[in-house]
Structures are given as structure tokens and as C-alpha cells.
């Protein structure tokens, strides 16, 4: 039962083959059994089982929706009323959220069960889940490697089937890169598609929440619940939410796939290149055509991102000052000392590094040279995509330049760590939807992700393209050894 997708579990619940309480207990047991993965920060069986009982009651009354009774793991970046919500940081290590994020409220409204809060890089800053205050997460495919980040806990949880599905958030690749490294389908929606209310901010103009699932069909089911305008988020877009599931079955004949030449050059590992090319060949068999496109400013995406994201973060994280909630240093002399000690002790090294970079980039005398210039670059990067989409419907390439790397391998080298998001970051800068799907394995048996980038608010097509591939292949159904 634990190997089933959300869509399959939904049918099992509907046919009364299983109850939500049984399902929830099953996954809670697996979480406990595989706790060495460190995928979860908080599990609260009583709360989850209470929701499961409510879901079963709702179903008994004939009021069930597709996700009613389905346990979903939530990244610990989403505030959930009454739940410890840490964002992977010591700063919030005892913060119990007094309200629900909009995404959480929508899952509850659909009758989904909150299975637990998953581990993550501190304040979503990291690509390996090693910056978490709660320790690193291990990749079920090889426990000596990282699951990617920042949504590493969600990735490991679904990959090991400790949860049938999870949420993540993606500011520069934090859904797609861990999905690629753990053989999942991970979707970063268009900016404005999913409400950010209650999702703890890292870089407000880039952050988006989205599903991390076993299949494109599951991603469509979860996105259908998460998406939609929210008047509490002024950046959410008031556009109708299409029926993502209904769109899955369109044939791919005539689909034009753009292949950016910049995504297949230096720095891409041979194994990843081989798997991605094989996946593209499969798409040709399914009736798609390919066309070379160019994203000439791709190489500027990482420097652009590492000015803008830290700039916004430096301001967003100012509220963690020890005054109203969260961690406060035990000893201090006066106000300034309280601020300094609280923030010095409450934040980890990567968060501090980004606060300092961002503060610098916004400082008088540097603002024009860094922040404004990066904003101009951002527009150029978005224009690159607009031009590419004149000749293609979707863009494909690798999600990450390598497969999962060893724990600790890049911890002391931030730049090399930042490069693992080289293919994902520009999608956030352009506000486009991007998806990673399983596309095979490298020589060591580690998963490779194929990235598919769509037009603004083109999630329907993106999920359809992913689903058709998954109808023809079975990479996404493979499980890591020891968890099957």
C-alpha cells in the first residue's frame, strides 16, 4: 500500500479498501522505522490521526474530495496552526505557529492529513539540506549522499515512501533539484500561482510553493488544491485554476521542445547528459520535435540570483530580532547586545553569509552596482525565455549538473554548492513554471532529473508533457533499495 501514488490511494480510499486512519498509521510507522533519514523535524501522531479520523468521517458522509484522507508531508516552512514551525532554524526552534498558511488551509479544506513537518535547509538557504539546525537529511538512494535542498526532507520522505506526497518551496531550485536527486516529480509553479501567505519568506520575489510527488498525475492533484488567488498575498495572481488532471491526457504529437544549447555545455556530468538525451529521444518517439534555442544570459543567472535573493532575504530575516517571538540569547548587556547575540547564536553560517551579502548589495554606494544591475539582468533573462518560447512550447534540459553528491563534499565551498542550481535559478528569475521528472540513473545507480520549463501560467501543458513521458517509462516507479 505504501508504494501507491496519491491517485491510487485516492481510489483505494474511495473503494473503502483502506481508511485514512490506517493509511496515516502506516506512514507514521514508516517515518518512525526510517527515522535515520532525518526527513522530519516534527511528527505529531495524535494530531495527524485526529485529522485522519475527521477525513474518514467526511468520506462516510459522502463529502470526500480527491485528497480527502491522503497524508501529505509539509515542508517546515509552512506555518500550520498549533504545529512547531521551525524553518530549519534554531531561531524558530520553539516557534509554534498560531495560524495556517494558505497552502496548509487549502490542504485541510480538501481533507488531506498533515503527516508531519519535513526537514529543510535553514530558511530554505542551501542545496543539500546540510544547513538545517536539525541536522542533514540522508538520500534514500545512497545514505552517504545528500537528498538536495532546500526541500531535502520532503524529497527523502517521498522517495523512501514515508509519505505518499509532500510540499516543497523553490526560490532557486529547492523543489526541482532535490526531486532530481531523489527520483521524484517536483513542480515549481509560476510566480503568483500559489499563495505565499504563511510560507516563511526567503526571497519574496522568487519563492513559490509546489508539490513533490511520485508522478505528474499526483503533482496535478496537489497543485489543484494549492493553486489559486489569495487576497492575503498581493503577489498572487487572480487567474482561474484549470483542471490540471483533465489536461494530462493530451497527446504530444506536434509538441515543440526547445533545447537550450547553454544547458548542455561545460559542467554537465556525462551521466546526466546521457540520461537527459535519452529522455529527449523518448519524447521524439512520442511525437515531439526538438529545436535548438538559446538562452544567452544563462551564465549570468547565478550572480544575478546571488545579489537579489540575499538582498531580499537580508530584509525578510530582520524580523528575527529576539523581541517578540523565537529565540533570544540568554545573556546580554543591552539592546544592541541582545540583537547581536540573538542573531549570532540563532542563525547558522549560510544564513549569516547571505544576510551579509544582501546587506552589502543594498548599501548606499553599492545599490546601483549590485541590486539595480541584477534587476536589469533579471529582465534580460526573462526576455531570453520569451524569445525561446516563440519557437517552442516547452524547454527541456538537465535539472542539476550532477547526481547526488556526498554529504560534506561541498559544505566548505559555497560557490560549488551554488552551482548545483545553475539550470534551475533562471526559471525563478523569469517567474516561469519548472518541473523535474525522473529520467534514469547514473553509473552508481543515482537518479537523474529531466527539467521541463513552461510558459508563464502554463502548468497544465507542463504536467501533461511530464505525464505522457511517465506513461511510456517507469523510472518514476522505481524505489531505492531497502525501502521497497
Amino acid at each position: 500500500m505504501f508504494k501507491k501514488t496519491v491517485a491510487e490511494l485516492s481510489r483505494a480510499l474511495a473503494s473503502k479498501a483502506v481508511s485514512s486512519v490506517e493509511l496515516t498509521q502506516l506512514f507514521l510507522d514508516r517515518i518512525s522505522k526510517y527515522r535515520d533519514l532525518n526527513a522530519f523535524i516534527t511528527v505529531d501522531p495524535e494530531k495527524s490521526l485526529a485529522q485522519a479520523r475527521a477525513a474518514d468521517a467526511r468520506r462516510a458522509k459522502g463529502e470526500a474530495a480527491a485528497l480527502t484522507g491522503i497524508p501529505v508531508a509539509q515542508k517546515d516552512i509552512f506555518c500550520a496552526d498549533g504545529w512547531l514551525t521551525t524553518c530549519g532554524s534554531k531561531m524558530l526552534s520553539s516557534f509554534i505557529a498560531p495560524y495556517d498558511a494558505t497552502a496548509i488551509a487549502r490542504f485541510s479544506g480538501a481533507g488531506a492529513v498533515l503527516l508531519g513537518k519535513t526537514n529543510m535547509d535553514e530558511f530554505a538557504m542551501g542545496s543539500s539540506n546540510e544547513t538545517s539546525h536539525f541536522g542533514p537529511v540522508r538520500n534514500p538512494w545512497d545514505p552517504t549522499t545528500v537528498p538536495g535542498g532546500s526541500s531535502g526532507g520532503s524529497a527523502a520522505a517521498v522517495a523512501a515512501r514515508l509519505a505518499p506526497a509532500a510540499t516543497g518551496t523553490d526560490t532557486g531550485g529547492s523543489i526541482r533539484q532535490p526531486a532530481a536527486l531523489t527520483n521524484l516529480t517536483g513542480l515549481k509553479p509560476s510566480y503568483g500561482r500559489v499563495s505565499r501567505y504563511g510560507m516563511i519568506a526567503f526571497a519574496s520575489s522568487l519563492d513559490q510553493g509546489g508539490p513533490m510527488t511520485q508522478s505528474a498525475e499526483d503533482a496535478a492533484l496537489l497543485l489543484g488544491v494549492m493553486a489559486g488567488f489569495d487576497q492575503r498575498d498581493s503577489t498572487s495572481v487572480d487567474a482561474p485554476v484549470p483542471d490540471f488532471v483533465a489536461a494530462l491526457d493530451h497527446p504530444l504529437k506536434g509538441l515543440r521542445i526547445g533545447l537550450p544549447k547553454e544547458y548542455f555545455g561545460d559542467g554537465l556530468s556525462a551521466d546526466v547528459a546521457k540520461a537527459v538525451e535519452a529522455a529527449i529521444a523518448e519524447y521524439r518517439k512520442l511525437g515531439a520535435q526538438t529545436v535548438e534555442v538559446s538562452l544567452p544570459n544563462s551564465s549570468l543567472a547565478i550572480p544575478c540570483y546571488y545579489v537579489l535573493a540575499p538582498a531580499e532575504a537580508s530584509s525578510n530575516l530582520s524580523r528575527y530580532d529576539g523581541v517578540r517571538y523565537g529565540f533570544r540569547a540568554a545573556e546580554y548587556k543591552d539592546l544592541i547586545d541582545m540583537y547581536c547575540k540573538t542573531r549570532a547564536q540563532g542563525f547558522g553560517a549560510e544564513v549569516k553569509r547571505r544576510i551579509m551579502i544582501g546587506t552589502y548589495a543594498l548599501s548606499a554606494g553599492y545599490y546601483d552596482a549590485y541590486y539595480l544591475k541584477a534587476q536589469r539582468l533579471r529582465r534580460l533573462i526573462a526576455q531570453d525565455f520569451e524569445q525561446a518560447f516563440e519557437v517552442c512550447d516547452v524547454i527541456m534540459g538537465p535539472t542539476s549538473p550532477t547526481t547526488a553528491f556526498k554529504l560534506g563534499a561541498k559544505s566548505d565551498d559555497p560557490v560549488s554548492m551554488y552551482l548545483s542550481d545553475i539550470y534551475t535559478i533562471s526559471v525563478n528569475l523569469a517567474g516561469l513554471p519548472g518541473l523535474s521528472i525522473p529520467a534514469g540513473f547514473d553509473g552508481k545507480g543515482l537518479p537523474v532529473g529531466l527539467q521541463i520549463i513552461g510558459r508563464y501560467f502554463g502548468e497544465e501543458r507542463l504536467l501533461n508533457v511530464a505525464h505522457q513521458y511517465q506513461q511510456a517509462t517507469d523510472w518514476h516507479r522505481r524505489l531505492p533499495k531497502g525501502f521497497d
Binding site: A201, S315, L317, Y325, L362
Partner: protein
């Protein structure tokens, strides 16, 4: 040597919206500490601001009243600094593109009119309050005020004396109250002033180095603070020293200004556009809609009173000093069918005199405008006073003392905590 002073004022007018600038919490004054601060106001993790359109309406109303250009697209920016009563660690304001661009206001002093330029007016949110007493060496934080909408009105350095500055401030005060966008209550901090002051030798085209006097909250103190500051700067220069650019505080007890921080210590606010808020778009239709709600403005009404009722300039000025006063007068003229000049005289001199004695304004007048006849002017003083007392409104209460529990205690900047 003849000196000329150059003064520019930054006025913060609290907009009288029912809810806050970026949250749904109420803005009522005087509630128990932290009872009017919602999740957004206390900056919980994950919350987001949503702009209150009512504040834009009021800002545009003001812009139209001073003949300013309205920017159809203005941008919210974050002003970053740490302070315990600033929950997010930044204040949402407008920086590069304010909603109201250049306009002007005519002031009158000793019978002379002068046009004072207004550089801009922008929307921003207020911070909370730090309460320094009663917390055993700690500071209490009350966030009821956090997020209250303000309109910051920045004048050109066009004012040339403390008296002109006060005339400008009073004119602005009258206008925002007239427009119904600010209650004008200076004791409660609804109308506050920062003054930029410098001096130069008469005829010198260059400005001198300026000092900014922060947060002066009465007309009288503004005048005294500026006068003191002008003298201080002239003394400095005449004794061979120079003025340093700095922020100063006015101490009303000692009637002097003292240094708060120098230019070197000036904060770098790291302004940048707030990524949580799209630009504020004010289209033509919105402007027209607001235009339609503009009342007759004080200057126009004064001119009309002079031509329509044959009043002299002074009486017309007194009778248009507030919207209530002007309406009271026009009602009285209409109802009494009396000589408008006699009615004017009765209201401006007799009634106003009695009201002043009782420290009331026209809205609290125990004599209704409707049955007014000139004979009422002969009412014995005693009867009016008794009548007044019977209907007396409670006096404006002083800001309520915070209880010792509800504010959030944080270490004081000034004192060591252990």
C-alpha cells in the same frame, strides 16, 4: 551681518482610515497595549502586507487639494533598520516614486501671501511605541500603532522664518482636517513635524548646512525649536565654528535642541522596492472619483464668504478655519435670514469667545446653528456656560497608561539589564 534662515518641514499626518495600512487591524487610539496588533502587525513569520485602498484615496485627495501631480504608478519600498517597536525590521514607505508629486500651498502671514512648494507626499506605515517606564529597567513595546497609515508631506526649503513655518504647518493642518483625511489630533500624535533648518548670509545663493529637528508635536514648540536652532546656528558661525549636519531633538522643558546623532552615525536605510507589494496604480478613473469627493477648500470658501456675504478678509478667515465652523455659519445665515455680517460677528466674536473659554470647538457648541438669531448674541454669559457644562463632552483624556503586563518587554537601550 544679515542672516536668512531656510526651513523645510516634513509633516507626518496620520490618515484616518478605520483599519491599518497593510492589515485589517483597527486603528482606534488608546486601546490596551497590543490589543490592536494582528499577525501582520507583529510580523509573524510568513505574513504578508495587503494595501488598504482607503489610504490611497486619502493621499490622492490631498494631492488634488494642493494642485499636485498624482503619480499613476507609485512604488512601495522597504526602509530597513532595527528598532524594538519596528516589528519587521523595516518600515514600508515610498521612496523613489511617491503617490503625490510636486504641489504647493499658499500661506498668509502678517497680511502677505506666499506660495510654499510641496516636494512630495508619500504613503507609509507608522511604527509601534516604546514605553520606557514601569518595566523594571526593561522597555515595553506596544504595537497598536504599528502599521497605521501615514502621509508624509515634504515641503520645499521655502520657509524663511519660524513664524512662516508655523503658518505653513497650521495651513496644512487645517487642510488635512478639512479634507477629512486626518483627525489632526496633535496630542495623540496624529500630526507630527520634523523641521530641517539652516542659515545663510542674505543674498548667498547656496544653502547652509542643515540640522533636522525630529518629532515636534505642537505649533508652539515648532516655533520655539526653530527659533532656538536658528540662533544656535548663527552663534556657531559668528564665533568661527561651523554647523554640522545632524539630527537634533527639541527639549521643551529646557527650550533647546540637542544632538541626537551626527551625519556619520546616520543610518543607511538600504531602501529597495518591497517585493511583497505590486506598485500602487492610481488610474484616471480613480482620480476623477476622488476629485468628485473633494469638499470646497478653505481658500475658495473664504473667497466666497467675502464675495457672497460681504465679509471682511479676517472674519471670512475665522469662519472658514474649519469645515464645521464654515458649515455652522452658513446654516446660521440661512436659518436666521439675518444680516450675514451680524451673524458672522456673533459667531466669530461672541460664540467663539465663549467656546474658547470652555476649551470647546464649534462642533461641541451648545447653541445649535439652526434657531440662531442675532438676539442670541445677547445671551448672558452664565447661561451659555451652564448650558455648555450640561452637555460637556469629556475632555480629551491623556494617553492611557500602559498596564505593566501586556506590552512586550525588551531590554532598554539606555540601561543595562543585568
Amino acid at each position: 551681518m544679515e542672516w536668512e534662515s531656510v526651513i523645510g518641514l516634513e509633516i507626518h499626518a496620520q490618515l484616518s482610515t478605520r483599519s491599518k495600512a497593510f492589515s485589517g487591524a483597527a486603528t482606534r487610539y488608546g486601546a490596551e497595549p497590543n490589543t490592536q496588533a494582528c499577525a501582520v502587525d507583529i510580523a509573524l513569520p510568513g505574513v504578508l502586507p495587503v494595501f488598504n485602498e482607503q489610504a490611497a484615496r486619502m493621499a490622492v485627495k490631498f494631492g488634488l487639494a494642493i494642485g499636485a501631480q498624482i503619480n499613476h504608478r507609485s512604488v512601495f519600498a522597504r526602509k530597513n533598520y532595527f528598532y524594538p517597536d519596528l516589528p519587521k525590521g523595516y518600515q514600508i514607505s515610498q521612496y523613489e516614486i511617491p503617490v503625490v508629486a510636486k504641489g504647493s500651498l499658499t500661506i498668509e502671514l502678517d497680511g502677505h501671501e506666499r506660495l510654499i512648494g510641496i516636494t512630495r507626499a508619500h504613503l507609509e506605515e507608522d511604527a509601534g511605541k516604546s514605553l520606557h517606564e514601569d518595566f523594571h529597567g526593561m522597555t515595553g513595546i506596544d504595537l497598536n500603532r504599528a502599521g497605521t497609515p501615514l502621509l508624509e508631506i515634504v515641503s520645499e526649503p521655502d520657509l524663511r522664518s519660524a513664524k512662516e513655518a508655523v503658518a505653513y504647518m497650521k495651513k496644512l493642518h487645517q487642510l488635512v482636517v478639512y479634507l477629512g483625511i486626518c483627525d489632526g489630533n496633535m496630542q495623540e500624535g496624529s500630526f507630527r513635524c520634523d523641521a530641517n533648518v539652516s542659515v545663510r548670509r542674505k543674498g548667498d545663493p547656496k544653502f547652509g548646512t542643515r540640522a533636522e529637528i525630529k518629532n515636534v508635536n505642537s505649533f508652539r514648540f515648532v516655533e520655539k525649536a526653530i527659533e532656538f536652532e536658528i540662533e544656535r546656528q548663527i552663534d556657531l558661525i559668528e564665533s568661527g565654528k561651523s554647523v554640522v549636519q545632524e539630527t537634533r531633538l527639541y527639549d521643551a522643558d529646557k527650550d533647546q535642541t540637542r544632538s541626537m546623532r551626527s551625519k556619520e552615525e546616520a543610518m543607511d536605510y538600504r531602501y529597495f522596492p518591497d517585493p511583497d507589494l505590486p506598485p500602487l496604480v492610481v488610474d484616471e478613473a480613480f482620480v476623477r472619483e476622488v476629485q468628485a469627493t473633494l469638499p470646497e477648500l478653505p481658500d475658495a470658501r473664504r473667497a466666497r464668504f467675502m464675495s457672497q456675504y460681504g465679509l471682511n478678509r479676517y472674519d471670512a478667515g475665522v469662519l472658514t478655519s474649519s469645515r464645521e465652523m464654515a458649515e455652522y455659519y452658513e446654516t446660521a445665515v440661512r436659518e436666521s435670514k439675518g444680516d450675514p455680517k451680524i451673524v458672522a460677528n456673533w459667531i466669530a466674536v461672541e460664540l467663539s469667545g465663549y467656546l474658547n473659554l470652555d476649551n470647546k470647538d464649534i462642533a461641541e457648541s451648545p447653541v445649535s446653528a439652526k434657531p440662531t438669531t442675532p438676539s442670541q448674541a445677547r445671551l448672558p454669559r452664565k447661561s451659555l456656560r451652564r448650558c455648555g457644562r450640561a452637555r460637556a463632552m469629556p475632555m480629551r483624556s491623556s494617553p492611557r497608561r500602559a498596564s505593566s503586563r501586556s506590552p512586550i518587554p525588551v531590554p532598554s537601550k539606555r540601561r543595562s539589564t543585568r
